[in-house]
């Protein structure tokens, strides 16, 4: 296959993998649950995006037809990731997990826990 396609694919693959990794890294090293929550929910979306685009490009190039179905996975992730994050945040607040001391407006989480107005 042409060099530039291979180049693009390779770059996308590595980039995606890096984002995936960063997501997990964030999950690993960030200090409290709420901050950890950011890592996976986000990094993954783009990370997966890159990987899937790479795969699309490659398959398209190999099979000779335009392969777009990987987009579906991205679509699903985009739809579900926020809900996952939301549910997890709810559980965290339900368990009143402690957060970084420097967190601003900690007490809002208490209001949020009761689903009251601030």
């Amino acid at each position: 296959m042409e060099f530039w396609i291979e180049l693009v694919v390779s770059v996308l693959l590595v980039l995606g993998a890096i984002f995936v990794f960063i997501g997990s890294l964030g999950l690993m090293k960030l200090p409290d649950f709420y901050t950890r929550l950011h890592g996976p929910t986000k990094a993954t979306t783009l990370g997966m995006g890159c990987l899937l685009v790479a795969s699309m490009a490659l398959v398209t190039n190999q099979q000779g037809y335009l392969s777009l179905h990987e987009l579906l996975i991205t679509l699903f992730l985009l739809i579900t990731a926020p809900v996952t994050a939301h549910m997890l945040a709810k559980t965290a607040m339900h368990h009143t997990l402690e957060m970084m001391d420097k967190t601003i407006d900690k007490d809002l989480s208490k209001r949020a826990r009761e689903r009251k107005n601030p």
């Binding site: 950011h38 979306t45 392969s67 407006d105």
Partner: protein, 167 residues
């Protein structure tokens, strides 16, 4: 707003369109056979599942929709680099925060879309929605200016949604 589906046979036209597209995506083809089958499914499945849908405000302004989607996608990319930076950097520098964003839009679907967008875009996760659906609680990974953030959310994301759902 108990908007009855506009067409009895095609209760959710947008869904149907989406389904047809998804079908073609799934099968990686626009072969006529699949077009027919896809169309058929796009017609039948909504009929089956329309009962399982709470009535929601209808969509308007297709162009706005497209613009909104593209914008969000862009923001997602930015958001990821942003978060990547924060994650790699030392946790000391972070100053996380809880922010309550007042909502103007009503109804489940629009709010859900907004909350999702917020979750997908820079440094924020929608943690909770107040019972009266007037407030969106957001956890911010690294807060610089609270009002600025609220402003951003309301202008950049809520307004177009208001337009789209006309409520």
């Amino acid at each position: 707003m108990k908007a009855k589906p506009r067409f009895r046979l095609l209760p959710m036209p947008l869904h149907s369109l989406l389904l047809l597209i998804v079908w073609l995506l799934l099968n990686n083809t626009v072969a006529p056979g699949h077009l027919v089958l896809g169309a058929f499914l796009a017609f039948v499945i909504p009929l089956l599942t329309s009962g399982m849908q709470d009535p929601q405000p209808g969509f308007h302004k297709p162009l706005t929709i497209i613009r909104y989607v593209l914008m969000v996608l862009g923001d997602i990319v930015v958001a990821n680099f942003e978060v990547a930076r924060l994650v790699i950097g030392s946790a000391k520098k972070l100053n996380p925060a809880f922010v309550a964003v007042p909502l103007d839009i009503e109804y489940g679907l629009p709010i859900t879309i907004l909350a999702s967008t917020v979750s997908l875009t820079p440094g924020t996760v929608s943690a909770e929605i107040s019972e009266d659906k007037k407030w969106l609680y957001v956890h911010v990974l690294n807060l610089t200016d609270k009002d600025e953030l609220i402003e951003l959310i309301k202008h950049r994301y809520e307004r177009p949604l208001l337009e789209i759902f006309q409520c």
